[in-house]
């Protein structure tokens, strides 16, 4: 191939073409034997045994996979430890905060993900030198041939043993044809990284501000225009707005003093057990429904401390002062009003249950408790 040697062009390499894969393997072995270090083989498909012939050691890429894989393992475990046992500890499925078996699938996924993504990224940016997309061999007849059905070797001028005449002879002796020197432009090696050029950065900033500005404008103004504002203005008082109707500007009115909300009847005998005992009567009858409601509420609220049979044999025994048995002489002689009062206001360490148990439920519990007491201290007539 005739070549015009243009003065400002620099010699990159001398290339030769072979027709058979065995020849290219031989060429690689001979180049290695001749002591060339900077040469490359271009084939249109992977030729088996090439890495041995070129004496290429194992790829360093695997170390990148290892390092990022291990980072993925560590990061995933740290993240899950931080999220689920440090920052916001939450019991899930009754497992400990840091439960390794549950974390292993995610750790495995993150390990594989990070290792594979970073291997590809490292391959592109470190080994392929990605932002640089030009190579002296591009757009040459050599590249056209080796990317269709030929096998090529390219011995670079930067090799310490390089001598154009000797290399040409060397390739000739190996049986190569199309032995061609490859030149490249000065401009090709002085390619600057265009990512940091002021023009490019300015362009990015302009795109950024334009996008952000348009988004802000459309969300805050355009949506309030024309047909988009259906149902926007309604005849009601919007939150954070001043009422025009009332002189104090509040849209909500305070209830009249002394108003009692439904179901929130105040307790008449606050701090006065004697009066409660004297004036209050159980309004419920010991029917089956009432007793089963009482039993349900007793089991939920009373039994944790007093025990299922109200004997004071609680499930929480030992963690709190032991609650009294409800079968004592004293409790058996209580009026219903006394018990009602104690449930409502609490006694000693027992807190008020007024919030959890409605009035009707309190009376039902009392009826159930009476039945329990009767079961433990039955009267003679009950036996019959």
């Amino acid at each position: 191939m005739p070549d015009k040697i243009i003065p400002e062009k620099i010699l990159y390499s001398v290339t030769g073409i072979f027709d058979h894969p065995d020849e290219i393997i031989n060429a690689a072995e001979q180049a290695e034997k001749a002591g060339y270090k900077k040469y490359d083989i271009n084939t249109s498909y992977p030729v088996h045994g090439m890495s041995t012939a070129m004496r290429i050691g194992p790829s360093k890429l695997s170390y990148i996979a290892l390092v990022f894989g291990l980072s993925g393992t560590t990061l995933a475990l740290l993240f899950m430890w931080y999220v689920s046992s440090w920052d916001y500890p939450m019991v899930i499925g009754g497992k400990p905060y840091f439960s390794l078996p549950a974390f292993i699938p995610i750790t495995f996924e993150v390990t594989v993900l990070l290792a594979s993504i970073m291997t590809v990224v490292a391959m592109l940016f470190i080994f392929f030198k990605l932002p640089n997309n030009s190579h002296p061999l591009h757009d040459t007849d050599y590249m056209k041939m080796v990317s269709s059905d030929r096998f090529g070797i390219s011995i670079q001028a930067s090799d310490p043993l390089f001598d154009e005449v000797k290399v040409k002879d060397f390739l000739q002796n190996l049986g190569a044809h199309h032995i061609t020197p490859i030149y490249f432009d000065e401009s090709e090696i002085s390619v600057k990284n265009t990512v940091f050029e002021p023009k490019f950065i300015g362009f990015l900033l302009a795109v950024f501000f334009a996008t952000a500005g348009f988004t802000y404008f459309s969300l805050n103004y355009i949506l309030a225009w024309g047909p988009f504002n259906w149902m926007w203005n309604q005849h009601k008082l919007n939150p954070q707005k001043r009422s025009e109707l009332f002189s104090d500007g509040f849209g909500m009115r305070m209830p009249v003093e002394g108003t009692v909300a439904r179901g929130y009847m105040p307790y008449l005998y606050k701090g006065n057990q004697a009066a409660a005992s004297k004036y209050m009567i159980n309004p419920l009858l010991p029917t089956k429904e009432v007793l089963s409601m009482g039993q349900q509420k007793f089991v939920t609220f009373c039994s944790p401390c007093h025990g299922y049979l109200a004997k004071g044999d609680s499930r929480l025994r030992g963690q709190f002062p032991n609650p009294p048995s409800l079968h004592s002489e004293k409790v058996r002689n209580y009026q219903d009003g006394d018990i009602y009062h104690i449930i409502t206001e609490g006694q000693n360490t027992m807190p008020s249950y007024a919030k959890q148990i409605t009035r009707e439920e309190r009376w039902a519990i009392i009826l159930y408790l009476r039945a329990l007491q009767r079961s433990q201290n039955a009267k003679e007539t009950d036996i019959k």
């Binding site: 065995d22 088996h48 045994g49 194992p58 695997s62 497992k95 549950a102 292993i104 699938p105």
Partner: protein, 403 residues
């Protein structure tokens, strides 16, 4: 290498070579191990029949792993159309002949089923609601029918596939490869079902209340690993001593190492899946099996299983050079075979000794007999067969295989 070399000349070159003769000492060692092992097994049955039955069950499952797993590897090569494994396929074929001894061990075990399986105690089953519901499946007659049926199917496929492969050595007909491919394609789904049911029958029913739907796959992963490890061990040893009639390159060793590495991961994946689902759901009827393996000294056996069966072989075979290093492959093959016995011990023995692990001379003599049996079997097969399938049309491509 001359690209015009025809396959016929090629095969003739190999078959003209001297038949491979292993040193007689290997065969004698095999016989000594086998005889000592069988005698010791007989003694141990007199000493402690129950414990020996459990150990014999481990031996049965290990024999099944090697025999059926090797047959699976052979079938896999045919179905996948693999060429790299053709020069070494005979090793797996020889190993799969251990299936012939399966009925002997199975019959001894069937006579000792009362010691092994709780569900054979009819008075116990009657008082247990769950077990009495399982009786349509778990009963003597159906169990024996299944065992006979499975072993029959395996032996049938073994004889058919191996017969075709041997016949090809003489005739070199390509149609035999086609026939074996079809047989293998039929065998693999049958293999999947039978090995699942066999593992459920022999091992899972030791704890008849417990069930795990992944159990069959778990045993399968160990099976393939054991078959691969035993084949790799023999292949690399023969290659190192220079008995292999064809040149096996690092590419072949790498393929074996990579497959072993893959199945180590597969085993860990399945074992962990089984554990994690049981751990997460935390249902009493499932956790009992795991809790049994966490009582007393079984705890250390369980932790040891993770190290022996996964962590050590994983890191030993992780790097690329390690997968083609013959010395490393020999050590790891032996290691994995040990790990598989360890795994079977971990599955089976907790039913015998519930309070903690037991280990004694009885646990040692059964593997001795097994190793002896396999050595004797292999050297017998080697004397009467070609070590390389010389009639296989894929052989030349297999020898020239490059990664």
């Amino acid at each position: 290498m001359n690209p015009n070399d025809s396959t016929e000349n090629f095969a003739k070159n190999i078959s003209m070579q001297e038949p491979i003769k292993l040193p007689g000492s290997i065969n004698i060692t095999g016989w000594i191990l086998l005889i000592i092992g069988v005698l010791a097994i007989a003694i141990s049955f007199f000493v402690d029949r129950e414990r020996s039955s459990f150990n014999l069950l481990i031996m049965l499952m290990f024999l099944l792993s090697i025999g059926l797993g090797s047959l699976f590897l052979v079938a896999l090569e045919y179905v996948a159309g693999a060429v790299w494994s053709t020069p070494v396929r005979r090793v797996s074929e020889f190993l799969s002949s251990s299936l012939i001894f399966l009925p002997v061990v199975a019959i001894i075990l069937i006579f000792n089923m009362h010691d092994l399986y709780h569900w054979t105690h009819s008075e116990y089953v009657q008082s247990d609601k769950i077990l009495s519901q399982k009786t349509p499946y778990l009963n003597y007659v159906f169990f024996i029918i299944r065992v006979a049926f499975f072993i029959g199917i395996w032996l049938l496929f073994y004889f058919l596939i191996i017969k075709n492969s041997r016949k090809q050595d003489k005739t070199g007909e390509q149609v035999l490869t086609k026939r074996n491919t079809n047989l293998s394609a039929a065998f693999i789904p049958i293999f999947a079902l039978t090995i699942t049911f066999a593992s459920v029958d022999w091992m899972m029913s030791l704890e008849p209340h417990w069930y795990s739907t992944i159990f069959g796959v778990y045993y399968f992963s160990g099976t393939v690993l054991a078959a691969l490890a035993s084949a790799t061990l023999i292949i690399v040893l023969l290659r190192q001593k220079g008995y292999f009639p064809v040149k096996l390159l690092q590419d072949h060793l790498y393929s074996l190492g990579a497959l072993m590495f893959a199945f180590i991961n597969f085993w860990a994946y399945i074992a962990f899946s089984q554990y994690m689902l049981i751990w997460y759901a935390n249902i009493p009827e499932e956790t009992s099996w795991m809790l049994q393996r966490w009582t007393g000294s079984w705890k250390f056996v369980s932790i040891g299983l993770i190290i022996v069966h996964f962590i050590v072989p994983y890191f030993a075979l992780l790097s690329q050079p390690a997968k083609m290093n013959p010395k490393r492959l020999i050590i790891m093959s032996i290691w994995i075979l040990f790990a598989h016995i360890y795994d079977l011990y971990w599955i089976i023995m907790p039913t015998y000794s519930r309070d903690g692990a037991v280990f004694g001379w009885m646990e040692l003599v059964f593997p001795v007999a097994l190793v002896g049996l396999i050595i004797v079997l292999f050297s017998y097969k080697l004397r009467n067969n070609n070590l390389v399938p010389i009639g296989d049309p894929k052989l030349e491509r297999g020898i020239n295989f490059r990664l």
